[in-house]
């Protein structure tokens, strides 16, 4: 049985910072003589075995005796993970990259501006807001027609409309900025 108390000396330890679901989770992986150990946040170190890792995204782990399986694949600069049919995006950085990233953020003036982007190519049907307007969370900013449906893009939080960059009738590309909020 694997030692789960972490008494043997680690040969190498890597700490990952995983940004996932709006939170940052620390995952520490310690390679020891008796195997690989994982520790999440301040939790206990547990022995982990990679039961399967396939190029098509399948990844299955044995954490102690618990089976954890999912699909993991790169997406938009991070990874996307599916567990029990539910997908979630994550950004994984090792300690060094995490420090660099936070230094970079610290070196730049923080901005509270939010860009509302087109999640897919489509046709702008309506823009019911104008620059300078105050909007509440959930207010419709742009109506975009794509995939045979009219889709409403809404404000993620209470904000002021800084810029409206599109007009009804205009076709837009994926990721094109439509509205800026601040």
């Amino acid at each position: 049985m694997a030692d789960t108390n972490g008494t043997s000396r680690p040969l190498a330890t890597t700490t990952y910072r995983v940004e996932i679901g709006g939170q940052a989770v620390t995952v520490e992986l310690a390679e020891r003589e008796d195997g690989l150990f994982v520790r999440v946040g301040e939790g206990p170190a547990r022995c982990v075995e990679v039961a399967m890792s396939r190029g098509d995204g399948e990844l299955a782990l044995l954490i102690g005796a618990e089976v954890v399986r999912g699909l993991v694949a790169p997406r938009d600069g991070g990874v996307s993970v599916v567990v029990d049919g539910r997908a979630i995006d994550a950004v994984v950085m090792d300690e060094r990259a995490a420090r660099l990233a936070s230094a970079a953020v610290g070196g730049r003036p923080r901005t509270s501006e939010t860009a509302i982007r087109a999640p897919m190519p489509g046709l702008v049907v309506a823009v019911p807001v104008e620059a300078g307007a105050s909007v509440t969370k959930g207010a419709t900013l742009v109506v975009l027609s794509a995939m045979k449906m009219q889709n409403e893009l809404t404000a993620p939080s209470d904000a002021t409309v800084k810029d409206v960059l599109v007009t009804p009738g205009q076709t837009v590309d994926q990721n094109q900025v439509l509205v800026r909020l601040e």
């Binding site: 996932i20 999440v40 995204g57 399948e58 190519p121 794509a146």
Partner: protein
Amino acid sequence: MFKKVLIANRGEIAMRVMRGCRELGVRSVAVYSDPDRSAPHVRAADEAYGLGGTTASESYLRGDQIIEIARACGADAIHPGYGFLAENADFAQSCADAGLVFVGPPPSAMRALGSKTSARRVMQEAGVPVVPGTIDPIPTAEEAARIADAIGFPIALKAVSGGGGKGMRVVERPEELVTAFRQASDEAAASFGDPSMYLERLVVRPRHVEIQMLGDQHGNVVHLGERECSVQRRHQKLVEESPSPVVDAALRARMGEVAVRAAKAVGYTNAGTCEMLLDQNGKFYFLEVNARLQVEHPVTELVTGIDLVHWQLRVAAGEPLDFRQEDVRLRGHAVECRIQAEDPYGRFFPSTGRIEAVSEPAGPGIRIDGSLERGLEVTPLYDSLLSKLVVWAEDRPRALERMYRALGEYGVLGVKTTIPFHRWLMRHPPFVAGDLDTEIVARDWQPADDLEGEFVEQAAVLAAISEHLGRGRRQPVAADAEQVGRWVSFARRAGLRVP
């Protein structure tokens, strides 16, 4: 039987029809748009021809070109699937004129059912119950008040040019009617450029229940029981099941008899569906006939044991039905979940992208009609249906638990899908109790930040270990692919997989 059938469609339904063809020893012909050159439905066929063009109207809606290809390649018949040309009477007529069999009802039946107004008129004459109301526009608010009094409240005022619930207003009491009519009419004029209104009795908390019909060219029409399709968002179905939890044998027989009468009234042949509204007191009303194979046909196939695609082809080829109404028996319970490329946490907003990984469920009672695979590009050009997960079990509670299990095995990475919504629904108490109506999604699905700690932790560990194993980066060939175009990159990826 035919020797060769052209399937004028794409995606899962094209593959479904091709499988049926192959089982009957019929060669299948695929057609494809430019972006679909290497799509799964093309590879599933025996022959494939390009239509050119990118959008639906440049490709799958080009009836003239499709008929030309069918003639040139020596096909006997064209199966339209659903959507695109499936309910286009002119296309069905053009097929006949070109000496090709259209696998579907005759153009005359399609025309009679084509507009809601004419369908309603035909059905009223045939004694089929319709929601009480007017067919033609009502000229004045006073006239509307007179009609509403005759029909009874509550009523729904609807814009003639509206649709999908837009331009609709519910009036509970007579004294509210005149004001409501004027306001709604003004709104309709502003929104649709047409102030015309009509009115109907409002069916409170309706269920959407439909009857599958099947007719041959020898005057035989049978019904294959009902499908409950009340779980909808934006008036589009997400989950279907058969039988309905509230339809018993007596109600089924009455609804089925009405559907058969409706089919016979217009000389209907082949597969079709009579959509109805069922109110909370067990009264039902004709809505419309879908003159085609439905997306949700598999649930009927699983409970009746009757292969609808086989029968579509057989009756189109002139064979008579070899069973009668009394031979049709429903056994067990079937449920279908539509796996859509949509974000259920973001108001079912469509999601596009490249499918990076897929793992599909298997085991007892599972059927998947789909064309999902790694590398597939989900584009905004076509429908957002990725696949249909269908399960069968002895009874409804077991079918729902089996579906819950199967959804947990369904992994799709690269686009957002409706899978988490379906998992929630399978254990949502009113749904489990069979207490549903067409507003159940809008009313009960309130996606919150319900990320469970355990889920986040497991996902974080998987992500970190994936990175640790060096899996965290895209294959270099995929990065190149962005510059060289999708087809070349597809060929390269496919080439690299060859041992």
